[in-house]
Amino acid sequence: MFGLNKKDSILMIAVAALALLAPFILNIFPNDSALAFFNAGYPDLMQRFVIFGIFAIGFNLLFGLTGYLSFGHAAFLGVGSYAAVWMFKLLNYNVVPAIVLSIVVAAAFSLVIGYISLRRSGIYFSILTLAFAQMMFVTAYSDLLGRWLGITLTNGETGLQVYNDDPQILLGNGPNVPHLFGLEMRAKEVWDIGPWEFTLPVGYYLCAVLMLASFYLAIRIFRSPFGLMLRAIKSNQTRLNYTGLNSKPYTLAVFVISGMYAGLAGGLLACMDPLAGAERMQWTASGEVVIMTILGGAGTLIGPILGSGAIKYLENVFSKLNEGLLHDWFGFMPDGLEGALVWVVSKFTGEGWHLTLGGLFMLVIIFLPGGLVEGGNKIRSWIQNRTGRGSPPADTASTPAE
């Protein structure tokens, strides 16, 4: 179907169904139940799921296929956001030019940075990308380039946003918030069904459709001769060179494609909330996409989506947890024990969420180096063994392009 084999078609359909039904699936707990705390069907959070999904899918094309670990990918996400906000400032709030420009600008940046960084491989490549990204972060944070040109380019630490006196030459009577030909991004449909409440945001659906398109494109790349070539680059560059193939152009091509994915993600962030700040380009943001991809399963198709979903969900849950809630939860325990438990757990929630993330990441790296996908495969073959449905498929865990 659509040029995909049977297995990939099923995967594509499953992801599409999950993405389109997410507002229902993520609000599975009735609104006034105790478990409603674990719901995630809010516009803002759902949008982050799919936007960071796009970011991670693109990152995985580079890292998962070629093994080149970029430590500066957030820079492309950042320029994507700035480009989109600039479109809002100059033209109007229509998201189409904003998204297009954010992809184009990210492509231009990744072409230059990729061209230079790919002169080295391994750790040196990573360091080069990190250095570039930090330079771009500092440039944006202090608006160095803007000051040098005598204009406001990134608006420094305040962040770039749209002001009333911006040109917005195409604004006319159009909406004063991001929209798709009049359809406002922040608009939403709320369905009350019994004790449940489901929110269907326009912005989320735009992001979800683009995520599905990105995912489809990624599958096609994985299965193409180009994808095969990229996996060969990861496996043995020496053999490739002695096969008459210069790997540079191919690596650069995928670096740019992956930068464009990041640019799209950055543009979408700005479309959901017309603001762009330098912190989006900081090295911690670059590290986050690395963690997402590895946590989900680098080099697998579904891994990056699982990884970004898991991290954004846990981030939401853990940073919302406060001592009051914890006291409620542990209230049934004897006082002393309750106090101690709350004290310990609270160190890992709220501000301490990053401690939890670090611990989780370490556990995955040590026990499940193939990420959540490997975990899923292990469980599947365990169940197959238990139910005696023959032996497990020969190499579920080792098929690189599942």
Partner: protein, 251 residues
Amino acid sequence: MSILEVQNVNKSFGGLKALQNVNLKVEEGTIHAIIGPNGAGKSTLLNCLVGKLTPDTGSVTFDGVSLLGKKPYEINQTGVSRVFQTPEIFGDLTVYENVLIPCFGKRDGSFEMNALMSVNSQKDIRAKAEQMLEDVNMADKREMRASSLSRGDKRRLEMAMCLAQDPKLLLLDEPTAGMARADTNNTIALLAEIQERRHITMAVIEHDMHVVFSLAQRISVLAQGTVIVEDLPENIKGHPKVKEAYLGGAH
């Protein structure tokens, strides 16, 4: 006419003279064996041919063009393929995918592709890859990960990958090392057949004299970085200098 000409090549590593005034002429369409004790400089000589090393002095001409200063992929594009002493294959890919890569690659170094077409849609390329696997008797191992193969199988795979390129000159560094007797005989038959059917010129480094004397039309003997004898196989057998080199190199 000689397709490969190596003239007065010298190569040292620090103080070690690995190659000294080496001359070699390989006639088009023949199999030329290079033998010699361990450490004689045989692999170093091949490294100088494929661009892994640059000779300190001397010239290397293939098909009328100098190979000096060219990058490995550029040398390969002129039609020189090499099987390494330690197999260089794509360990993470399946056996079949390993052979697909050179089948997709074209002589000018471009890769037959467009980013969105599926690997499986390329009927002629797949057929060629399958044929290559048949040729080296590995069709049954198609879906195995290349890194899990035995050393002999890895080398046969590498040979299939090189042959898929339709090279003009095939360099083989100990093609039968690590192979069982039966596979060695299959390899001899394969190489002989390829040379007969496709007229691919070959230079073979080999320790197994059975292989050398079954295949070679000419033999160069290398010892301590110099070519001590170069002659027809029947003249090499029992040549006093060759005996001396092997005995001298043995301790």
